[in-house]
């Protein structure tokens, strides 16, 4: 590739390449355009998933039938789970913001394998389509839950194979993205950017890359076992063939628990960038932040069993998994302490992304603390599979990843689009989102404590009040969401152009124009200082 030292190089948005119109996007190997491809796909799936959730909450406003049948409700929570987990939160931050910013933040022109990067997006779209289509092509609508637990999932017609095959394809997308990022970080850092001069967001992507690379193949093995069971009748999971349903749960969670860290680690990285930038102060305990990310990624492999405390594992397995679950909470706690310490004696600029970071900290702490309660064996026996668990993981996955995603969106929006958004509407949206979030998921802790199982289409009168509050919360949350998204789209036409460094950030993305030129850097920078050098 010929690199021209042209000072007036067009931005990646204006660049005229070989292809025109939509093809200039779907055939582009530019990491920035691929990031936006992911952004639009993910937002589309997110809109579908959120609407399904809204309708489910409406159904639960009163006992008995409200707007849909039990069959429809079971199909809705299945699709909601599949779309939100596999198509939204797992790719979420790494594929959108990781793709856009990783090369820029480490001073590179692109990722190590730009074509594989585009291939990953195609695999992603193919995988999600397979999973969604498969749910409608078997006998009758989908109703297994996103966990596809055996043997129930084996009894519901032929949906199982294409669904897991879709997950398999998605897995390859994830593996290739992880591999791409790992190689990029190892090989393409700018001169002078030693490991300990790398910003925290790339560090979290590094840890995530390893999780993607090492944990995702498990879902592939599981697929092969399901194929062998369905076609050759080798009994792995189905007790009628002599298999063990618990083996399925082990394999499923061996991938799906580390997958939680694929979701949350980049979220932590984005929050670190936001807090340090608006505090105008170096991150507190930089090395400890890195160590805790690596510790979470490592220990995260060994705690999948806490999804199975009531399944019938041995006592030894139970207390080992419980102990490790408590241990993995410690590095998360260290991160929270360091984030708050970063604010101490800072000079805090209260911009929208900082509010998102504050909201993130609050809901992430609630999610984490409720996770401790669930990690306790004696408490888990009562709370497992109740709404308490639903509340917990929505606080972590939607509260953690979601708040960080929207925080990152508002933080890097000027860089990505070259425009500034309307702050007032952004803040109104955030406040509604936050209030709605707490009102929607807060009562679920109470409902779960009172004993309302999850995945319940109908419930006893004792659970009615909590459900009314929760449903009302869903309306507020959804309104906030609509305002946020409309504001961001409307602001694309804003007349206020973004400068290269609107917030006073110190990492490399703020040294290049907004939006960035095709090749990111006119000249690859030489790094001499740490990432958060405010002095």
């Amino acid at each position: 590739m010929i690199y021209q030292k042209d000072t007036a190089e067009p931005s990646y948005l204006d660049y005229k390449g070989k292809y025109k119109g939509i093809f200039s996007w779907i055939f582009s190997t530019d990491h920035k355009r691929i990031a936006l491809l992911y952004m639009f796909s993910i937002l589309t799936f997110f809109a579908i998933g959120a609407t399904l959730g809204l309708l489910m909450k409406f159904e639960l406003i009163a006992p008995g039938r409200t707007i849909m049948s039990a069959q429809a409700y079971n199909a809705f929570f299945t699709l909601h789970g599949i779309i939100m987990i596999f198509a939204v939160v797992i790719p979420g931050l790494p594929a959108v913001f990781g793709n856009f910013l990783l090369p820029i933040m480490i001073g590179a022109k692109d990722v190590a394998f730009p074509r594989i990067n585009l291939l990953s997006w195609y695999l992603y779209v193919t995988g999600v389509s397979l999973v969604v289509i498969s749910q409608f092509t078997g006998q009758g609508p989908p109703d297994t839950g996103w966990t596809f637990y055996a043997p129930y999932s084996f009894r519901t017609a032929g949906n199982m194979l294409p669904a897991v095959f879709g997950a398999f394809v998605l897995g390859f997308s994830s593996i290739l993205t992880g591999l791409n990022f790992l190689v990029t970080i190892h090989r393409m850092r700018a001169p002078g950017m030693t490991w300990l001069k790398m910003p925290l967001f790339p560090w979290t992507l590094y840890a995530t890359g390893w999780v993607q690379l090492l944990a995702t193949p498990i879902i592939g093995i599981t697929l092969l076992m399901i194929v062998a069971e369905r076609t050759l009748h080798i009994g792995f999971f189905d007790p009628t063939l002599g298999g063990d349903p618990l083996l399925y749960q082990h394999l499923f969670w061996t991938y799906s628990h580390p997958a939680v860290y694929i979701m949350i680690l980049p979220a932590m990285g984005a929050i670190s960038e936001i807090i340090t930038t608006y505090s105008h102060k170096a991150i507190f305990g930089y090395k400890f932040m890195i160590a805790s990310v690596l510790a979470i990624a490592f220990v995260g492999y060994f705690i999948w069993g806490h999804h199975m405390f009531t399944s019938g594992m041995s006592g030894t397995a139970l207390y080992t998994f419980s102990l490790l679950t408590f241990i993995v909470a410690v590095p998360s706690a260290i991160k929270v302490f360091n984030w708050i310490a970063t604010m101490h004696q800072g000079s805090i600029d209260l911009q929208t992304p900082f509010y998102w970071a504050m909201a993130f900290l609050f809901v992430f702490m609630i999610g984490g603390f409720s996770g401790l309660i669930l990690g306790s064996l004696a408490a888990n026996v009562h709370l497992h599979n109740t709404h308490f668990v639903v509340a917990h993981f929505h606080f972590i996955v939607f509260g953690g990843t979601g708040f960080a995603f929207f925080g990152a969106m508002h933080y890097w929006y000027p860089k990505i689009t070259g425009r500034m958004y309307d702050t007032r509407w952004a803040n109104i949206g955030l406040v509604l989102f936050f209030i709605g979030f707490i009102t929607l998921y807060g009562p679920m802790f109470y409902l779960g404590f009172k004993g309302m199982p999850r995945r319940y289409y109908d419930y006893d009168e004792v659970f009615h009040a909590g459900n009314i509050v929760s449903t009302m919360g869903s309306w507020v949350l959804y309104s906030g969401l609509v305002i946020i998204v409309i504001n961001l789209f409307a602001s694309l036409k804003s007349k206020i152009k973004a400068p290269s460094d609107p917030w006073g950030g110190k990492t490399l993305e703020w040294t290049i124009p907004s939006p960035p030129p095709v090749e990111n850097f006119e000249e690859i920078p030489t790094v001499t200082k740490g990432p958060y050098n405010y002095s």
């Binding site: 043997p151 349903p245 618990l246 507190f284 708050i340 604010m343 000079s347 109908d458």
Partner: protein
């Protein structure tokens, strides 16, 4: 659910509470403390008041402190959870044994003397051991008031136990998603005095607690409750999963037999066949493979009683 007499519903309420409130208490304290600290910093070090940040890249002593304290707290939390869990695995030798059979979408309970019941009737202050058997998919027996649950995994032998400490009726739910009627798969724990229980258990002439009258079909209804028929078949004309029993006996139905449609009349022979070979004739418009054979579980005499009940549902 909550005690008004100071006596817990079961022996596991206190072990749950210790663990839950210990962790919840510490969590609430930390959540409040950290949130207030954050808000205070945001207020105090606002750009308007604090124009230049004072750089401070870290403090080793602080890092060690806020690593060590969470480690200690986490280990304590783990310990309480583990201690509270240990008794769950220690079934007392003098426990009364009940076997529960879970199927989509009902529970039934069988006692050592052969008595069967749709509700879990137990004497107060007597340890109860439950053998967990699933006929189809994974279910989970959950008694919220007792703070316990256990999955029921097909092909695996599992037990759970508890000590009911207070008389009364408590909800019993299925807590592992098992399909269409999952949220209706529920039953009751009825804790009664030891004397009443002895009388109830010894009375094997009636099949279930509910049976008192001698109206035609009453016994048939009891049998069907215990066998879980009513989870999928209504008696009032509503379509649940299978056909309704209302006006069923003597009706002409179109069924699919080996792929071809046949018109049959619902008579005694057909009912018996439907119970023993449920997938042989599938009524048009209903899915195949959902119902299991009840061969060996329901006797011919019981089927006669069931037919009595079905006849009683015919509107004149």
């Amino acid at each position: 659910m909550y005690s008004t007499t100071g006596i817990d519903a079961s022996n596991f309420v206190s072990t749950f509470n210790t663990s839950f409130y210990f962790i919840a208490g510490i969590s609430l304290f930390l959540l409040t403390g950290l949130t207030i600290t954050m808000l205070y910093f945001v207020f105090k070090y606002n750009k308007k008041k604090h124009k230049v940040a004072i750089q401070n890249e870290g403090n080793l002593l602080l890092e060690i402190t806020w690593t060590a304290i969470p480690v200690i707290l986490a280990l304590m939390m783990f310990y309480y959870g583990w201690e509270g869990w240990k008794p769950l695995g220690k079934v007392p030798a003098n426990a009364m044994t009940v076997t529960t059979t879970a199927r989509m979408w009902s529970f039934s309970f069988r006692y050592e003397n052969g008595k069967e019941s749709a509700d879990l009737v137990v004497p107060v202050n007597t340890p109860v051991k439950i053998n967990l058997v699933s006929l189809d998919v994974i279910h989970s027996l959950f008694i919220p008031a007792y703070r316990i649950k256990s999955d029921i995994v097909p092909g695996r032998e599992k037990v759970m136990w508890f000590l009911p400490e207070r008389e009364g009726d408590y909800d019993l739910y299925c807590a592992e998603y098992c399909g269409l009627r999952h949220s209706y798969m529920k039953s009751m724990v009825k804790v009664i005095s030891k004397e009443k229980f002895a009388a109830w258990l010894g009375d094997t002439t009636t099949l279930a607690v509910a049976t008192t009258g001698t109206t035609p079909g009453e016994e048939g209804l009891s049998i069907m409750r215990i066998q879980g028929c009513l989870a999928c078949h209504s008696s009032d004309g509503t379509k649940i999963v299978g056909p309704t029993y209302l006006n069923l006996f003597g009706k002409q139905e179109v069924v699919t037999r080996n792929g071809t449609d046949v018109t049959i009349t619902v008579d005694s022979a057909y009912i018996k066949r439907s119970i023993f070979e449920p997938n042989a004739d599938i009524v048009k418009g209903y899915p195949k493979g959902l119902m299991q054979s009840y061969k060996g579980k329901i006797s011919d005499a019981d089927i006669t009683k069931i037919i009595e009940y079905l006849k009683s549902l015919n509107e004149k």
